[in-house]
């Protein structure tokens, strides 16, 4: 920004226009599909294919929502609930573990510390998809596939969260403060929870959001693990429906409206945690 304002007025205008165009185009790029989804959600099945995709026909949003919630004994609501449980509890526990691990790596000196950290960093590079099949085979050994835990337990592991937590703990928790706490007689666990955790809050929110989104969007692991549709998260449920569209064209409306409703919790999570999120990203990047 400072560079732009330092330049000549003409250049300023040109670069600002260019920036606005780039931003405008990318905003459109991201919003048009959501707009399409919203418009699609408001249409009846007949009008969905016979009217223009980006503008309203008869407004049937609430009828569609009602039908969606009623279809198949309300299994869609069950999926949403599952997704919320997997994502919020998974992200909470994942954040806690990542924070403790990252904090320990940043603040304690012990043999093998760098090795552990590098291993965790390596974990960031392994895509979750690649681990799904090995996880399935291992869970099979314990007859634990097709259970809540088969999706939940792998979700609470977040190498990237550990990385962020370590960087942030190193930057924002002064050693002097920890020493003061120790002198005052606080144990290590209490120091972590009552002093360090507060200082690390922006990073923790960032980790939480990352993890929440990752679990919410996780598709491959549930696809491989789950067969009982009452355990499905909403992503897998919608995918399952979508694969049945050729057989039962009626489901198409439900897929559209279901997809639209399924992004709402993510929007809420982002909007309500946005200011922490920004702080967290900034702090991490400065260091």
């Amino acid at each position: 920004m400072s560079q732009i304002s330092a330049g000549a007025p003409k250049e300023k205008l040109a670069s600002r226009t260019a920036a606005m165009i780039v931003m405008g185009v990318s905003t459109l790029y991201f919003l048009v599909p959501i707009w399409w989804l919203f418009i699609g959600s408001t249409k009846s099945r007949e009008q969905f294919s016979s009217t223009a995709g980006l503008w309203f026909a008869d407004f049937n949003l609430f009828t569609n929502i009602g039908d969606l919630f009623a279809y198949n004994d309300g299994v869609y609501l069950r999926w949403m609930l599952n997704s919320i449980i997997y994502a919020s509890f998974g992200a909470l526990l994942g954040t806690l573990f990542a924070a403790m691990c990252g904090y320990a790596l940043a603040k304690y000196r012990f043999p093998g510390r760098e090795l552990i950290f590098n291993t965790v960093l390596g974990g960031v590079l392994v895509p979750a998809t690649a681990l799904a099949l090995p996880l399935f085979l291992i869970f099979s050994q314990f007859n634990a596939t097709n259970t809540f835990w088969s999706v939940f337990l792998p979700s609470i592991v977040s190498p990237f969260g550990v990385y962020l937590a370590r960087i942030f703990a190193a930057a924002s928790v002064p050693d002097e403060l920890l020493e003061a706490a120790r002198l005052d007689g606080a144990g290590e666990v209490r120091t972590f929870f009552s002093v360090s955790r507060r200082l690390m809050t922006p990073a923790l929110v960032t980790i939480f959001l990352f993890q929440f989104v990752a679990i919410w969007n996780n598709f491959f692991l549930p696809l491989i693990m789950l067969r009982d549709q009452t355990l499905f998260p909403v992503t897998l449920g919608l995918y399952t429906w979508n694969s049945q569209v050729n057989q039962i064209p009626e489901i198409r409306t439900f897929v559209i409206i279901g997809a639209f409703l399924s992004i709402i919790p993510l929007i809420i999570a982002f909007l309500s945690l946005q200011r922490f999120w920004r702080g967290g990203l900034g702090a991490g990047s400065v260091k």
Binding site: S49, N143, T147, Q247
Partner: protein
């Protein structure tokens, strides 16, 4: 060295996390052994079966069984359609030893499961072999693979093909409903002069194309018990390819991707006049082209020789007893009930529009009604006839996903303006042989 160590530690970490799970869920117990139950003996006491299917509403049908059979309780498990992930899951579960007792498998995927030894032979169940004559002839060959003393699945539904056409447009244009492929091509020219297309040629529905080859008495695969023969380029297959190549080259068919809005729109606006499709296509049209309600009718597929009565088939599933099931007898009983009893077939038709694979099922009362969208025509009569006119000798190969993909790539090039459908089949032929070879499946080269 460093990297190696890291990997090892990741692996250890995963194991540690997993063993925690084991403790948490250890209660369920039980070993997943693969008992080769050649004998078809009932188990003692109450039996619980698991059944994986992606048919919408299948749980309601299974509920009927569970109420009537307190000693054989079936749990429904579900997932995306076969190629959407459920087949892959079956194979994963088979290798982990925890596959469900029963699974839905489409006819074109059965050979893959047979080749990979994923199915239980239930031929020793007396009422299974006795039910042979209940099923439409060609479906029985699909589940026995023509092997002696073998039944690897129970046919569930079929997709006999016929011609959906815009009755009103044909009448208005004064075109007689084509009964042969020659007449069909002639009609295509007339329709083109009026600004429409007779139909659409889809890139990705290779199994649709296979249905056309099926009607022409062509075969894409055969197996003499030792080796597979791949015959995508058989004379019958090439005859069908040449015919459609002619329509494509002279711009007599539209070329939009099937199952898209554009495609629905072509039918909804009356730009495309016919669709050679399976019985389940009836719903695809009525939902995709709602503005044309009442204007459609169904006629038998055009024939290669005037006076013949031959039909193809597109789609259909079976219910298979998967390898490792500890209760093949009970599983077979359930599969038989599901696919032969009037109450189950009626319920399956009501929930998911399944079209029965039994001869008696074709006469179900629900299939005898006229359908408003088709001007009140009793369209299922036409399909029932078609089901019985379908050649019994058609065989699917063990790597259909690959074959479909490679042929579809070739079709795509044709629709883009290069190559011919025959070239696409030749490439598909070669790549299929390579794929079988690579999978160590014996094949004649």
């Amino acid at each position: 060295m460093h990297i190696k160590n890291s990997k090892r530690i990741v692996a250890l970490g995963v194991l540690a996390a997993i063993s925690l799970t084991g403790c948490a869920a250890g209660g369920s117990g039980g070993s997943a052994g693969g008992s080769d139950a050649a004998a078809c003996a009932p188990s003692d006491g109450k039996v619980e079966l698991s059944y994986t299917s992606w048919i919408p509403g299948i749980d309601k049908v299974v509920d009927i069984w569970n109420k009537e059979n307190p000693d054989i309780q079936v749990t429904v498990q579900t997932g995306p359609n076969g190629n959407g992930g459920t087949y892959k899951n079956f194979f994963n579960q088979l290798s982990a030893g925890n596959a469900p007792d029963l699974g839905q498998i489409e006819y074109d995927a059965l050979p893959n499961f047979r080749v990979q030894d994923g199915l239980t032979n239930i031929a020793s169940c007396k009422n299974v072999t006795e039910s042979k004559d209940d099923f439409i002839d060609w479906t029985w060959n699909q589940v026995t693979f023509g092997e002696k003393d073998s039944v690897y699945a129970i046919p569930q539904d079929t997709g006999p093909m016929a011609m959906y056409y815009r009755k009103d447009l044909f009448e208005k244009a004064g075109i007689a409903v084509p009964t042969t492929w020659d007449e069909y091509a002639e009609a295509a020219k007339t329709i083109r002069t009026q600004g429409g297309y007779i139909t659409n040629f889809p890139q990705n529905d290779v199994n649709w194309f296979a249905g056309l080859v099926w009607q022409a008495d062509g075969r894409w695969f055969s197996n003499d018990g030792d080796k597979w023969d791949v015959t995508l380029t058989s004379p019958e297959s090439e005859k069908v390819a040449d015919y459609w190549q002619g329509l494509i080259s002279t711009d007599l068919v539209s070329k939009v991707p099937a199952w898209t809005d554009e495609w629905n729109n072509a039918y909804n606006t009356g730009s495309d006049w016919t669709w050679i499709s399976a019985v389940w296509g009836a719903n695809s049209i009525s939902s995709g082209a709602p503005d044309t309600s009442g204007n459609w009718a169904v006629a038998p597929m055009p024939q290669w020789k005037a006076g013949e009565n031959k039909a193809g088939n597109w789609g259909g599933s079976s219910t298979a007893v998967l390898k490792g099931s500890k209760h093949p007898y009970e599983a077979a009983q359930f599969a038989l009930w599901l696919n032969t009893s009037d109450e189950a077939l009626t319920a399956l038709n009501k929930e998911a529009n399944l079209y029965p694979a039994t001869k008696a099922g074709l006469k179900l009362p629900v299939l005898g009604d006229g359908v408003d969208f088709y001007g009140g025509q009793k369209i299922y009569d036409t399909f029932a006839t078609a089901a019985n006119e379908t050649n019994s000798d058609f065989v699917w190969g063990p790597t259909m996903t690959q074959t479909y993909g490679d042929v579809a790539d070739g079709f795509g090039e044709v629709l883009g303006g290069t190559g011919t459908l025959t070239d696409a089949l030749k490439t598909g032929q070669k790549k299929t042989i390579d794929a079988l070879d690579a999978a160590a499946i014996p094949v004649n080269k």
